[in-house]
Each structure stands twice: as C-alpha cells, then as structure tokens.
Symmetry: C2
Subunit: 272 residues, 2 copies
Amino acid sequence: MKRKVFFISDRTGITAEMFGQSLLSQFENVPFEEATLPYVDTVDKAEKACEQIKQAEQETGMRPIVFDTIVTPEIRQVIQSSGALVLDFFHTFIGPLETELGETSGFRVGKTHSLRDNEAYDSRIEAVNFALNNDDGITTRHYDQADVILVGVSRCGKTPTSLYMAMQFGIKAANYPFTEDDMEKLRLPMELKKHKHKIFGLTINPNRLHEIRTERRANSNYAALKQCQYEVREVEALYRREKIPSLNTTTRSVEELATKILATTGIKRHMF
Amino acid sequence: MKRKVFFISDRTGITAEMFGQSLLSQFENVPFEEATLPYVDTVDKAEKACEQIKQAEQETGMRPIVFDTIVTPEIRQVIQSSGALVLDFFHTFIGPLETELGETSGFRVGKTHSLRDNEAYDSRIEAVNFALNNDDGITTRHYDQADVILVGVSRCGKTPTSLYMAMQFGIKAANYPFTEDDMEKLRLPMELKKHKHKIFGLTINPNRLHEIRTERRANSNYAALKQCQYEVREVEALYRREKIPSLNTTTRSVEELATKILATTGIKRHMF
C-alpha cells in the first residue's frame, strides 16, 4: 500500500509540489501516491480537501502527508485539522522573515507565479518566441540577439533545454544542429563563428542517442549505433579543438542543463 | 539600498528560488536584490558563498537573507555560520518526515530534478516535441494523441501555455489558432469538431491583445484595436455557443493557466 501524499495550495500548487517532491525524493524506499489539490482558496474547499485526506487515511490505513503553501490562516487551519502530517511551508518561515524585515507580511494569496510585473512576463514570452523562431538552425539571422546558441547532434537535447532556459529564466537561446552532412571535416559554420563566445555545446552518450533515434526512425542510418558513435566523436573533437564549453546531456535533466549552462557561461538571467 | 537575498543549493537552485520567491512576494514594500548560488556541493564552495554573503552585509549594512535547500549537513553548517538569516528548507522538514515514515532520509544530494526515472523524462521530452510539432495549427493529424487542444486568436498565449504543460506535466498539448479569415461565420473546423471534448479555449482582453500585436506588426489591420475587439468577441461567442470551457489569459501567468486547465478538464498529468 502506498502512503498518500497531498500537495495543497491556494494557488497553482507548483511550489507545494516542488517543496514536497524535493523532500520525498530523500525516501527512496517508501512508495508514495501523490495528488495535487490546487486553488483551495475558501474554507469550503479546504473542508472538501479534508474529507479527501481523511478518506485516504481510511483506505490506506496510514496517516497521509500534506505539503501545503496556503497563505490565509483560516484556510490553513482547516487543513491542519485533517489529522494528516501537515508540513506547512508558508507559516513555518514567514515569522522569522517578518521579524528580520520589521514588516508584517501581506498575507496575500496569489503573489507567487502571478504576474509580478509585466516586464518580466514579456521577457519570458519574448524568450519563448525567440527559442521557437531560432530552433534547430531554422535561421541564423537573429544570432546577434541571442544570449546563447546551443549546438550539438540531432536529438541530444538542444530544443528542450533552449525552451526551458526561455521559460524559466527569460534567456534567449537559439539552437543549431550538426547534421550528418556536416560530419566530414566538421568545422564551425561561418554564421556560428561570428558568435563564437555565445556557443555552448551539448553532447550525449552514443548508446542513448542510438536508443532515442531508433524510436524516431528505426533501422535508419540516422539511428545506427555506428553513425551515432561517429557523430558524437566528431562533435566532441570539434568542441575540444575550438575550446567550446560543453555538457553531456545523457543523465541530466533540463533543469540541470539550463542551470549549469548559466553557471558556466555567466549569462545573466532576465527573470527571477 | 536593497536587502540582499541569496538562494543557495547543492543542485540547480530552482527549488530554493521558488521557496524564497514565494515568501518574499509577501513583502511588497521591501526592495530585494536576488542572487542564486547553485551547485554549492563542497565545503570549499560553501566557504566562498559565505564570503559573498558577508561582503553583501558590509556593502548594504543590512543582514542578508539566505534561502537554502542544501542536503549535506557539513555544507549547510558553513552557510549557517555566515551571519545571515538562513532559512533552511530541507532540514526544517526532514525531521518530522523521518519520524512519520519511520525511515531515515538518504541525505542524498541530487535527487530533486535529477532523472527520477527515464520514463518520466521520456514522457516530458515526448510532450515537448508534441507541442512543437502541433503548434499553431501546423497540422491537425495528431489530434487523436493530444491530451488537450488549446484554441484562441493569434497571440492570446496558446504556445507558451502548451509548452509549459508539456514541460511541467508531460501533457501533450496541441494548439490551433482562429485567424482573421475564420472570423466571419466563425465555427469549429471539422478537424476540431471530432475532438471537441479535448478543446479548451483561451481568450484575452482586446486592449492587451492590441498592445501585443502592435509590438509585432505595428499599424497593421492585424494589430488594430477594432480588429482585436472583433476577433475576441467572435471567439468568445463561439465558446459560449459550443460550450467550450475557457480562460482569460490577460492577467494570468502560464503556471496559472496550465494548472487551471488541468483542474477544469481533469486531464491526468504524466509527470510529478
């Protein structure tokens, strides 16, 4: 039987999920079943959530765990009365912060993830559009506006990483693929050479690349292990020769790739 | 002078940022200057972080605030010694969890955001690719595989929302624009009608739409306020007529849109 876990929030629930996941991930041997209850912003909704929690306890015979980020005290109290282990993110830390800042908190629901200011929001949308319009080497005309240009073989993770950098940090990330045809005498194309300081290389384990490409186009030369090995070897040699900083994507999440690229290059983010 | 805030983590720092931001957003009148120090995973790096914190205190004359998610006790202790107000996310909650679960935590760095399992990761990449391949009505052939199809006028927020749903929840979100040409006698195209239960409408304040379109193509009919008003009116009438659930994107972040769509439709997410 899995231990039931609830992420409860008066808003999106995304912070509550991150909060809870990062703690649960420390208990690898415990099986959890997770559910998010977002927008619990009235006492009435909190009481319904309570019922769900109590029911989960009856069904599993185990006390559920609740991670919550509820701002309003009255709503939070209802959740507290559920009988679950309630780990309350907001109220645990707001006290020390109020003392330190000599200010009382607004107790305002909906500040997180809401549009803190239009400017930050616009820079995010602009960055996402930039990533889309400059994906996969579609065009190289806007590289002067790019914060970073990710390069690498097809299917090594360039697109998700560019999009994540745009979405999370408002960074304008273009990406450019080295294709089969480029491989012989691989060198940096002219358009990239001009912006060499912006280039960041991605690479990948050839076996994993072979797997990914096989799912896409089985039994093709494109997916053949030998071809994957060849492309990765050539590209990695290019990175060394041209002193292009690079990362291996094989066992890294896009969050890790994006933040490591920031840390390595020192690119300034446009959003917090 | 702004109060200096540090988000410190032995990993990406994304959880520390979310954690801190959600609390800081409650103090609207206090000016903060934020910095993230990711991958602080050795005592040596922690000591360097400490120096930065102490320097910030000297420069600003105010005690800095640190939000940290550091797992390893020895590294955390170094940060604690910095003299800042250190709000430690991990160690505050891990104790009660250990007691409840009757298990000791792994104290393992790098569980959050690392590839918890390949399956979840693949479903994310697959969903991002789906969103890209089915963006902006490029094709309607894959709608049978879609979890949701977002519809709305050009520039109302469909693409960022689809991508966010893919990235955060592994959901396959296609999107389809209603264009100027569709407006007269607006009705659901045949390809959409077949998948009506998957359709979710987005709408937007015409004035905001006018602003956004003006930045893109100033003085065009496309950007004219009158045209924006017309399109929004037609599309909203369609939603009412066809009983399509919808959301106004004007003052909502993509996080809010994505989670509200999940809550409204009951679509199952593929990732936690």
